[in-house]
């Protein structure tokens, strides 16, 4: 059963076709990875699915409901969440506040109640804070809750984004290069996190360059090249696909293939 389905998505920027006829489906509890060389359209695909860009053609359904062209905040309310390749943390807020902001949809929101800071608001604030701290502990940032996000190191910010993306309790999560720029220890940490998230029943869609991570963690892999789908299958199938090897890993198999 698929939770998040993209059908035949396409978009062009000033005549340059960035994504062309891409389809995928992500199931709860599974990790779908999207790989491809730089410029293959992976991030653009994420921006289409998460409502930041308007698709020129194609359809997106979430939980069976057509959500094509819906605004990001509407998609979020329906259970879609994501992280960003080039970090989009709330730099002037603390780590904990970042995740608390992520709980927005789970909070009762009333401007009047907020202005007067009614007891209900204070109670809810405590609950939100507790939930945020739990998520911070989950991504191993439990000690850094009061640090301004702008002062956190890169690897920590990557995990903070994951915590914030999990805060709305999404059914589907798009992760855009969560391990980029991370060292080996941090990558192992991200690996563990993604597996744990999927085990909670979330449909995870992952864009990642680290082939070792992708091959290890993915249930299925979709390969893009030049904005078009090149291959799809299990890690073993993709690894054995001659098209993939030729187009993406290079004719001599390349370094990354050897690693994988």
């Amino acid at each position: 059963m698929s939770l998040l389905v993209a059908q035949d998505l396409g978009i062009a920027f000033g005549g340059v076709v960035a994504v062309d006829g891409v389809s995928f489906s992500a199931a709860p509890g599974q990790v779908l990875s999207i790989i491809g060389p730089n410029g293959a359209g992976k991030t653009t695909l994420f921006n289409l699915v998460s409502g930041l860009y308007r698709a020129r053609r194609g359809r997106v359904t979430l939980n069976g409901e057509d959500v094509t062209g819906a605004q990001p905040q509407v998609l979020a309310a329906k259970g879609l969440s994501r992280t960003f390749q080039n970090l989009q943390v709330f730099g002037r807020m603390t780590a904990c506040e970042n995740v608390m902001a992520g709980r927005h949809l789970r909070e009762r929101r009333s401007l009047a109640a907020d202005l007067f800071r009614l007891p209900a608001v204070r109670r809810q604030n405590r609950e939100t804070r507790a939930a945020a701290e739990e998520l911070l502990a989950f991504v191993r940032l439990g000690e850094r809750g009061d640090t301004p996000a702008g002062a956190l190191p890169y690897g920590a910010l990557k995990r903070l984004e994951i915590a914030r993306a999990l805060a709305p309790e999404p059914k589907a999560l798009l992760l855009d290069e969560p391990a980029a720029g991370c060292n080996a220890v941090e990558t192992t940490e991200i690996d563990r996190l993604i597996r744990a998230v999927a085990d909670r029943g979330v449909a995870v869609v992952l864009v990642e360059h680290d082939m070792k991570l992708v091959m290890k963690i993915s249930d299925r892999i979709l390969v893009l090249d030049g904005g078009r789908p090149l291959a799809e299958g299990t890690p073993a199938e993709v690894r054995a696909n001659p098209d993939v090897i030729r187009a993406y890993l290079g004719p001599q198999h390349g370094r990354e293939a050897a690693h994988a």
């Binding site: 920027f13 991030t43 921006n47 930041l52 960003f84 390749q85 080039n86 989009q88």
Partner: protein, 290 residues
């Protein structure tokens, strides 16, 4: 028809001044991302210095040249003393700095000169030229001619000279310009100097028609800013187009509707245009990259 022509000419005359102010905004904005609210003060300096130098006995052409030189000096000083030290500040901070500079320059003018309104004799007399039933002041032709000459000079400078290309390169991508060896600081100073010169020329040309005073720059700056935005911030052609359009709107609405709300026309126009086209008429639409 005569009435229409009359409004057309007065609209073009005022519009040419707005266009020159808007062009000054655009030059500085392109070179440095600064929105210079002291732009109107350059116009004021042009007019006031000419008036007082002429009153002191200098021949009008010399007084005008002196006014332009002083405006350029003020522009360069503004860049060196107020903008350069605040490099890296937020857009709002920079806007407030230039507004502070505008208040400061107004204060200096008030002390150095006075608080009265002053005029200049028209350059080629006051006898109106009859044209298909409309009366055109010779000074209007001076304003239009001066504006066209300014635009042409600027165009030739940007298009034909190496320095002009450096300005365009800086506007397109500051980092890349620096990487290929362009001294972007010089380019920015140049933009401030050129903007000041353009503003001063506008001030000298328009003073015989509209008079000038120490605080004449404020409304001109606001309308010039509106004109630059109307055309689309950063586009020199947009600035000229926006300025002329604003001048025409003002003139026609004052002529056919009512002159009570003449000053409101510019702001109503800019609001309506921005609601329909959030990046101005000729502005580039940005795609958000994440």
């Amino acid at each position: 028809m005569a009435e229409f022509l009359q409004f057309l000419f007065s609209g073009l005359t005022v519009g040419a001044v707005y266009a020159m102010v808007a062009l000054g905004f655009t030059l500085i904005y392109n070179a440095s991302d600064v929105v210079n609210f002291a732009q109107g003060e350059f116009v004021m300096i042009g007019g006031m210095v000419t008036v007082f130098a002429a009153a002191a006995g200098l021949p009008l052409p010399l007084a005008a040249v002196l006014a332009v030189l002083i405006a350029v000096a003020v522009g360069l000083l503004l860049h060196a003393l107020a903008i350069e030290p605040a490099r890296g500040a937020s857009a709002v901070t920079l806007i407030i700095i230039t507004i502070g500079a505008s208040i400061f320059l107004r204060g200096v003018a008030q002390v150095l000169f006075d608080r009265q309104a002053h005029g200049l004799p028209a350059f080629s007399g006051d006898a109106p030229i009859r044209f298909m039933g409309a009366a055109v002041l010779p000074q209007s032709l001076w304003v239009l001619g001066g504006a066209v000459a300014t635009f042409l000079l600027l165009y030739l400078f940007l298009d034909r000279t190496l320095l002009g290309k450096a300005v365009l390169a800086t506007a397109a991508n500051r980092l890349a310009a620096r990487l290929v060896g362009i001294n972007t600081r010089t380019v920015m100073a140049l933009a401030f100097g050129a903007s000041a010169a353009i503003g001063a020329v506008a001030g000298i040309l328009i003073t015989p028609i509209t008079l000038t005073s120490y605080d004449a720059g404020t409304l001109l700056a606001l309308k010039g800013f509106a004109a630059a935005m109307l055309g689309g911030m950063g586009s020199p052609f947009g600035a000229v187009l926006g300025g002329l359009l604003l001048g025409l709107f003002e003139s026609f609405s004052a002529g056919y509707v009512s002159s009570t709300y003449k000053d409101a026309v510019a702001f109503v126009t800019i609001l309506l245009v921005l609601f329909a086209m959030p990046s101005g008429l000729l502005g580039r639409r940005a795609v958000e990259r994440v």
